[in-house]
């Protein structure tokens, strides 16, 4: 057993209590079909999916019900067979707590699949595979929900890839869905890695895993014994080792600079659950319709569930025995980066990796926020090597340009700074605020530019129309006047000619 792989250590990070064993004692559980399935059209990063069905339509399991709108978007599939009974705004698991468009399916109980077809990826080429992935609805299942086909697109553009990194670090406390997946679906996962390895045409695949997942490490080590090109590299349990750029540095010692992608350095990374989703899609033609979710924290029976997207969260909380100490507070994601759910009347989505029922220690009257004492402990903890204290002052005083200059957008919002802050300042909240302000400002600036362009074009058009009208009028005037003149002249000439003729006639008579 190779325990001491060479790992490069990133700056800072924290060693928090992992609390992972709360939810790993029991196997992954599936629950019976729920009465209603509610699928939000916004489950991914990018544009809202475009609706393809209407109320009353019968759909089959795995049928496309909303397609990707453009490239930065992801498709949505029916997670069971049934009838579309509503398309309306419902509460979704989003930090805003605002409702968004959802499709409601009333399952018919048959759970009948559409015709599933394996993808002959060797024959059709990477381009076609990518197109199909766009229809598969697969997004990064680590929690960020970034459309997977975009990642493949990037790798293709960058040319030669040499390494596939499988992100199995799962560094946030409480979350164990990847751990359980590796324990229970080891074989399938390795098949998936082999498949993605071949599709990407890389030389080696490295599984990066934190040293606290001993069972998963054992299973995987056993499973990859005969695989030459797949290796397992164990990294120390330091949060946030599961962040893509941190993990690449830990394993390869490569720091990806600002504005670059890992694919520029020949590396592509996928989360274990995403690998499995790609495998299920290509090998069996199954689109993305379910995932493993950790339901943990202050519950009678915390564990992992394999859930269809759209399953009401409330039913699962009930299945897990409900809260031990009632406080009706639930966090989606981990305790470091997650957010408080507005309510548990929300469906399971692609980005839902973990639900923590808040423990009394988490909801207890929060420690008072004190002024910043400039201790710079946050800078020591920052894995991105930023200056969180500076970013905090700039964000607090709304000096957004300054904050941007200090690389605010490199912040991964991991929460290490807030965790170590002796003054209990919610630093990440300030960064998020500053980031969304800047993003909105940019958006407004773009809109203003478009409005200016349109206004200038209109003024130009009006000017042009005025000129054209003037020209036309002048022409008409010129035309009409010349015609009249010739007419008048002609008339006069005719009169003269007539008179002359008359005189001539009279002269002739007189003669």
């Amino acid at each position: 057993m190779k325990l001491f792989d060479k790992v490069f250590k990133f700056n800072g990070g924290i060693r928090a209590e992992t609390k992972k064993n709360i939810s790993t004692a029991q196997p992954i559980r599936k629950i019976p079909l729920p009465k209603k399935i509610v699928l939000p059209l916004r489950q991914h990063i990018g544009k809202l999916a475009k609706l393809k069905v209407d109320i009353g339509h019968e759909v089959l399991k795995g049928q496309l019900i909303a397609e990707a709108d453009g490239n930065v978007s992801a498709a949505i599939h029916a997670s069971t067979s049934g009838k579309i009974t509503a398309i309306e705004k419902r509460l979704i698991p989003h930090p805003s707590g605002l409702p968004d468009f959802c499709i409601e399916i009333s399952p018919d109980g048959k759970d009948q699949w559409i015709e599933k077809k394996a993808i002959p990826w060797k024959k059709i080429g990477l381009d076609k595979v990518n197109e199909l992935l766009l229809e598969s609805g697969i997004v990064g299942l680590g929690g960020a929900a970034f459309p997977t086909h975009l990642k493949l697109n990037n790798s293709k553009k960058a040319g030669a890839l040499n390494t596939l990194i499988v992100n199995a670090a799962e560094c946030e406390p409480y979350i164990t869905c990847d751990d359980m997946l590796m324990r229970e679906k080891t074989h399938e996962l390795i098949q998936g890695i082999k498949l993605v390895h071949e599709i990407l045409n890389v030389k080696e695949s490295v599984i990066g895993i934190e040293d606290n997942k001993t069972d998963a490490i054992n299973f995987i080590q056993h499973a990859i014994k005969k695989e030459k090109n797949i290796s397992l590299q164990i990294v120390p349990t330091i949060y946030p080792s599961g962040d893509a750029k941190r993990l690449i540095y830990l394993l390869k010692g490569i720091k990806i600079p600002k504005g670059h992608r890992s694919s520029d350095y020949g590396i592509q990374m996928f989360n274990v659950a995403t690998i499995l989703a790609i495998y299920r899609f290509i090998e069996f033609g199954e689109p993305s319709i379910s995932r493993i979710v950790t339901i943990t924290g202050n519950l009678k029976s915390p564990r992992n569930y394999e859930l269809l997207f759209g399953t009401p969260l409330k039913e699962i909380i009930d299945d897990a025995g409900g809260q031990i100490i009632k406080n009706d507070t639930f966090i989606m994601g981990g305790p470091m980066m997650g957010f408080k759910l507005p309510s548990i009347d929300v469906p399971v989505t692609k980005s839902m990796n973990c639900i923590i029922s808040s423990e009394p220690t988490m909801t207890e009257e929060k420690k008072p926020v004190l002024p910043c004492i400039r201790c710079a402990r946050c800078a020591e903890a920052c894995p991105v090597e930023l200056q969180p204290q500076e970013l905090f002052w700039f964000s607090k005083s709304k000096q957004l340009e300054k904050a941007e200059e200090y690389n605010l957008f490199d912040c991964i919002e991991c929460g290490c700074c807030s965790y170590v802050c002796p003054s209990n300042i919610p630093l990440v909240q300030y960064y998020r605020f500053a980031k969304s302000e800047i993003i909105e400002e940019r958006h407004e600036y773009e809109q203003a530019n478009i409005a200016r362009e349109r206004n200038e074009f209109r003024l130009q058009r009006l000017e042009r129309e005025k000129l054209e009208r003037a020209e036309r009028n002048a022409l008409r005037r010129a035309q009409s006047s010349s015609e009249e003149k010739t007419k008048l002249i002609d008339e006069k000439r005719k009169a003269i000619a007539d008179a002359l003729q008359r005189i001539e006639k009279e002269d002739n008579k007189n003669d």
């Binding site: 916004r42 989003h94 930090p95 605020f433 203003a448 530019n449 349109r454 058009r461």
Partner: protein, 188 residues
């Protein structure tokens, strides 16, 4: 004595030539300050400032004919930016020109519209689509919310609808937390 005079004259000629050439070669077309002011203005083209659009207002500011506090859609933030750019004191928005309103878009009640094209002629950004005696509609994405289409409408079928916060345009809020008095904290 002669040498020093020659050196100075020589330098003067050289510098003169360099400056002369640069003045021609790097000549700045138009007045850049107008462009800079214009880029701060929100481009609503509403005319509330008393000028027929953002560019004319920017020109007026640059020429000292208008004050910096006449743009309600730009709001306080816009005035601050203009003050920073021009190096003048900030002054609060002049209420004569209107109050800042939440960003909204115009919506045409398509049942009532008689197709008179008057609003199309009024729209400063060509965001209204339609033709004579046919129903008109507003391209929401392009609407700046200037309200210029409201007065010409003979049947009052245009409404301004404020843009609601939704999951897409939602922003993280400025963190707010309670600061206890030290005495209270000690007591608890």
């Amino acid at each position: 004595m002669i040498t020093s005079i020659l050196v100075v004259v020589f330098l003067a000629v050289i510098i003169g030539i360099v400056l002369g050439i640069s003045a021609i070669k790097f000549k700045v077309e138009g007045d850049p300050i107008i462009e800079k002011i214009d880029s701060i203005l929100p481009q609503t083209q509403c005319g509330q400032c008393g000028f027929p659009g953002c560019k004319p207002y920017a020109t007026a500011i640059a020429n000292g004919e208008a004050d910096i506090n006449q743009c309600p859609p730009g709001g306080d933030e816009g005035i601050h930016k203009l003050a920073d750019l021009l190096g003048v004191e900030y002054k609060p928005l002049n209420a004569e020109h209107g109050e800042p309103k939440p960003k909204s878009v115009a919506i045409i009640d398509e049942k009532t519209c008689i197709g008179c094209t008057l609003c199309i002629q009024a729209c400063p950004v060509d965001a209204i689509l339609g033709s004579a005696k046919h129903m008109h509609t507003i391209i929401e994405k392009e609407c700046t919310g200037c309200e210029l289409c409201l007065p010409p409408c003979p049947v009052d079928c245009i409404d301004m609808v404020a843009i609601e916060e939704n999951a897409e345009n939602w922003k993280w809020k400025y963190p707010v937390y309670k600061i206890d008095k030290v005495s209270e904290r000690r007591a608890s």
